[in-house]
């Protein structure tokens, strides 16, 4: 029985992506283990991205690997050598890279503050991100440094923004989703269990596929976390936030435990907000046309984006299943071709080869759709929620303002605590106006970003679909020419 749980293996993702195929792809032999002492040395100082070292020796597919194996090398350099397992690696990579950037189309790389995730490590149920900062701002002790962060710390940062009253008037960049490898791990588990029931080729093929899938999910989660940081860094106000700086620079664990209590509070908060939604929506009609329009728009848009995102997801997944079927068909045809003794065997082998190649293309189509469409929609689902949250906050402050007005009137009527009421009313008024002003700008920016991102992604989606369809067509026509020529 082959025992191999992906989660047991540290998987590394090395940056910089922009450089091209410097990316870890598991070869047929499984993912490379990480550098030693990950839990220790790595966290306490800022290691520069590991230099090129000897790659981990490949293991025969299906060999038993001890859980959590740690190699005694300084960390594999994921170079082109790692790409052997996937022949379409570079392409895939750069497309995804583009996809990532496309979501934040207007984020200029700003010399003052540049943040990225230079490395990532997947260990059991945790993912550790190496956050790398380059900055010329005086706030930081050094110009360039890195720290290791986990998902919970990102959430902490996000929540600190949300809870900060000063930021009430801004769209808080949505928090990255929790890394979720469960589905992928389950599939790998099942594959391991079902090893006996399929041929060696099939097994290897499926393993490669699942590994690629796992890796894709991994890359995506890294991308999402990075996007979050980049958005913060690009925001004129948020980038100055102290918590943010701590997050970037403090090279110890931020100790954001006690999540459970926090989570409970958040849930409570969210529920409150949701019911407030009801109140605000049905209650006060906004005086300001702009906001009135925005509110209506956002509510509807958000729901529809949610729907579109879910459906797009399902569509991409079906696409992937169909592509996987091609895999099995190709294997069967291959088996037929090798066991058959008649002249049809050459025929079968050719067709089997065709199916293999076509399948790779179909899998890419599905992956690209996932990236350009599903991810885009998912991201804007979260951003539109953030925009909605902004509107809630504004409405709440409006309600506060109006309540303060009423209190003031009452106080004046009773002629009691008038000053207090006046101050309070002033504060509310200021708060409301401040929020309104920045909210307006934020919402306009949101629209600009959204339009640009959609444009970029839709164009790229169409281009990729065309590219793949043409590739497929070429393959099929070539194959047909050969087959017809033979007969």
């Amino acid at each position: 029985m082959w025992v191999w749980a992906f989660g047991a293996f540290p998987t590394r993702v090395l940056r910089p992506w922009a450089e091209g195929p410097a990316f870890l792809f598991p070869t047929a032999h499984g993912p490379r283990p990480s550098a030693p002492g990950r839990g220790g040395a790595g966290c306490s100082e800022a290691p520069p991205p590991p230099a090129a070292t000897s790659p981990a020796p490949p293991a025969a597919a299906g060999s038993l690997r001890p859980r959590g194996a740690v190699r005694a090398c300084a960390g594999p350099r994921l170079g082109a050598a790692m790409m052997e397992g996937l022949d379409d690696g570079p392409d895939f990579l750069s497309e995804e890279d583009r996809g990532l950037k496309a979501i934040n189309v207007d984020l200029q790389s700003d010399a003052a503050l540049q943040v990225d995730i230079s490395d990532a490590l997947s260990e059991r149920d945790k993912v550790k991100f190496t956050v790398h900062t380059k900055s010329s701002l005086p706030n930081f002790k050094q110009n360039e440094f890195s720290v290791v962060r986990q998902h919970e710390e990102f959430i902490w940062l996000h929540d600190s923004f949300v809870e900060n009253e000063d930021y009430a008037g801004y769209i808080i960049p949505p928090a990255p989703p929790r890394p979720d490898f469960d589905a992928s791990r389950e599939k790998l588990q099942k594959l391991g269990e079902g090893e006996g029931s399929m041929t060696k080729e099939e097994f290897t093929k499926m393993k490669q596929e699942l590994e690629a899938e796992y890796l894709a999910i991994f890359k995506k989660t890294v991308a999402m976390h990075e996007v979050f940081l980049c958005r913060v860094a690009a925001h004129p106000i948020l980038r100055k936030d102290l918590n943010f700086h701590v997050f970037l620079e403090y090279n110890q664990d931020l100790s954001v435990r006690g999540k459970n209590k926090k989570e409970k509070l958040e849930d409570f908060f969210k529920n409150m907000v949701k019911s407030a939604d009801g109140v605000i929506v049905s209650g006060v009609k906004d005086v300001d046309d702009f906001f009135e329009h925005e509110r209506t728009f956002l509510l509807e848009y958000h729901n529809r984006v949610k729907d579109a995102s879910a459906k797009s997801d399902r569509m991409t997944r079906s696409h992937k299943s169909a592509a996987d079927d091609y895999n099995r068909i190709g294997s069967s045809l291959y088996a037929l071709g090798t066991q058959d003794s008649t002249d049809i065997c050459k025929f079968f082998l050719k067709v089997s080869e065709l199916f293999d190649k076509t399948r790779k293309i179909e899998a890419r189509v599905s992956a690209d759709e996932d990236l350009k469409l599903s991810d885009l929609l998912k991201y804007y689902l979260r951003e539109s929620q953030a925009a909605k949250d902004l509107l809630y906050r504004r409405s709440r402050s409006l309600v506060d303002y109006e309540n303060a007005n009423k209190a003031l009137d009452k106080a004046r009527a009773k002629n009691k605590d008038v000053l207090q009421a006046e101050t309070s009313q002033q504060l509310c008024c200021q708060k409301f106006e401040k929020i309104s002003e920045s909210a307006k700008q934020e919402l306009i920016d949101f629209k600009t970003r959204r339009v640009a991102a959609f444009r970029k992604n839709l164009v790229e989606l169409a281009e990729l679909e065309l590219k793949h369809a043409k590739g497929n067509l070429q393959l099929l026509q070539n194959c047909l020419a050969v087959l017809n020529g033979d007969t």
């Binding site: 037929l336 067709v351 065309l466």
Partner: protein, 471 residues
């Protein structure tokens, strides 16, 4: 005698029954005569067995009316079989009912007067190339279509009637184009007759489509939904393929029952239609296997050939089943993809509606349209996947079951050698045909894939400028 005649077109079927011959009618007469004699057609079925034991000349005296033409017929029909096979008792008398005589033509010729045998070779020479070519290509000038399913009757007694259209230039048929109405049990009846006549002497009789109680009940009950129309369509296609395969078989083509099935406007209702379908055949296989196990069989080298073939077919069967399962999964996922794409298209359209940036809104609506068209494409592709690929595979799986049965059968028969030769021939023919069939179907399938891709390209090319136009 041989000289006089111009080689009749291959497969010139004559009435096969000797009864017919008794009528002394021109063999080329209309189906009427065939009809008259048909009631007795079950008889010939038993004949082969008998004939196997009887000797050449002991034929039913009646058929002696040997026509040059018939002889010729023999010659052509028997092309496939080796000339030097031992004189086998002519199955049914000398008659040109090669259809009924699963034995080589030589045997048929043998009982004939020696004079005939002399002339035989001449005949052979003459039309040999023609025959060879036709036999190898298995191209008999006959085309069968099954169409226009229509429901007859009501309630649980209702049934679907299919129009069976034959287009042919073969002179054994009275007309060149004709059609009849048949119901499913008629097909099964035909198959059962053919199977009982030919199976156990070594011919591979194409299996009939499976019976399906559920599917039929839905249709009877009048459920007019897509699944029952799909079911009817599947069945229609399967019946068409079944007939096409059957008429491609040179020997079966000569069979009077087959001809009657194709031509006569009324067919006696087949009662015993336990479909000798793949499942039925498998049952028979098992029974035969049991019988066989009780006999001791002498091994000789031709057994080795059979062993090998059997093994081969086992493997092939397994592989095909696997392939079939994968293709079915593909069809299922494709349908799913189509549905999901349609859902997404609607959703994208809604999103486009609520988007307040005009150009983006328009682009999103366009995207929705593209996706909708793609969904249609996927549906059609699924259809193609299914019909072309999947059904062919399941047909073949059942055919192989029939072949396996052959192999088992031969082990238990006397006149082992003769039958084994027949089987070898049949198997060889089957393999060649299989190869051709597969190739044709797969190529057609690939062409359908090509079309899909071309359409996709068209759609996305139309969409691209719209996306770029978002400002």
């Amino acid at each position: 005698m041989a000289a006089e005649r111009e080689p009749p077109p291959l497969g010139d079927g004559k009435p096969t029954d000797f009864e017919e011959l008794e009528d002394g009618e021109d063999l080329f007469t209309s189906t009427v005569s065939t009809l008259e004699s048909s009631p007795s057609s079950p008889e010939p079925a038993s004949l082969p067995a008998e004939d196997v034991s009887t000797n050449s000349n002991g034929r039913k005296p009646a058929e002696v009316v040997l026509d040059d033409d018939r002889e010729d017929l023999f010659a052509e029909a028997t092309e496939e079989v080796s000339l030097d096979s031992p004189e086998r008792e002519p199955i049914l008398s000398s008659e040109p009912s090669p259809a009924v005589t699963p034995v080589t033509p030589t045997t048929l010729i043998a009982p004939r007067m020696e004079s005939k045998s002399i002339s035989a070779p001449v005949i052979f020479d003459r039309s040999r190339e023609e025959i060879e070519e036709e036999a190898n290509g298995d191209v008999f000038d006959i085309e069968i279509g099954v169409s226009d399913p229509e429901k007859v009757g009501d309630g649980m007694n209702a049934y679907m009637a299919y129009r069976v259209t034959t287009k042919t230039s073969l002179s054994m048929f009275s007309k060149s184009e004709f059609s009849v109405k048949r119901r499913f049990s008629d097909f099964l009846g035909l198959h059962s007759k053919l199977a009982s006549k030919y199976l156990h002497v070594g011919y591979i009789v194409p299996p009939a489509p499976e019976k399906s109680i559920v599917g039929m009940t839905k249709v009877k009950v009048g459920k007019e939904d897509s699944s029952s129309t799909e079911f009817v369509e599947k069945r229609r296609a399967a019946l068409e393929r079944y007939l096409q395969r059957t008429v491609k078989h040179p020997t079966l083509l000569q069979d009077p029952d087959l001809r009657q099935f194709l031509e006569s406007s009324e067919l006696p209702r087949a009662v015993n239609t336990q479909a000798l379908s793949g499942a039925g055949i498998l049952r028979m296989v098992n029974k035969a296997a049991d019988a066989v196990n009780k006999m001791t069989i002498k091994m000789n080298e031709s057994d080795a050939w059979f062993e090998e073939k059997q093994q081969q077919f086992e493997n092939l069967d397994q592989q095909l089943r696997k392939l079939h399962a994968s293709v079915e999964a593909l069809v299922c996922h494709r349908k799913e993809l189509s549905a999901n794409t349609a859902a997404f298209a609607k959703s994208a359209a809604m999103l486009g509606n609520s988007e307040d940036h005009t150009a983006l809104s328009r682009a999103l609506s366009q995207l929705a349209e593209v996706e909708e068209k793609i969904d249609q494409l996927h549906q059609e592709q699924a259809f193609a996947d299914f019909y072309m690929f999947s059904e062919l595979l399941s047909d073949y799986i059942r055919l192989i079951a029939a072949v396996k049965w052959e192999a088992k059968v031969q082990q238990g028969e006397r006149d082992f050698e003769q039958i084994s030769k027949t089987i070898r021939k049949e198997v060889g023919r089957f393999e060649a045909k299989r190869v051709k069939d597969f190739k044709t179907v797969i190529i057609k399938y690939l062409e359908s894939l090509v079309q899909t891709q071309q359409q996709l390209i068209k759609y996305w090319e139309a969409f691209l400028p719209e996306a770029k136009a978002i400002a």
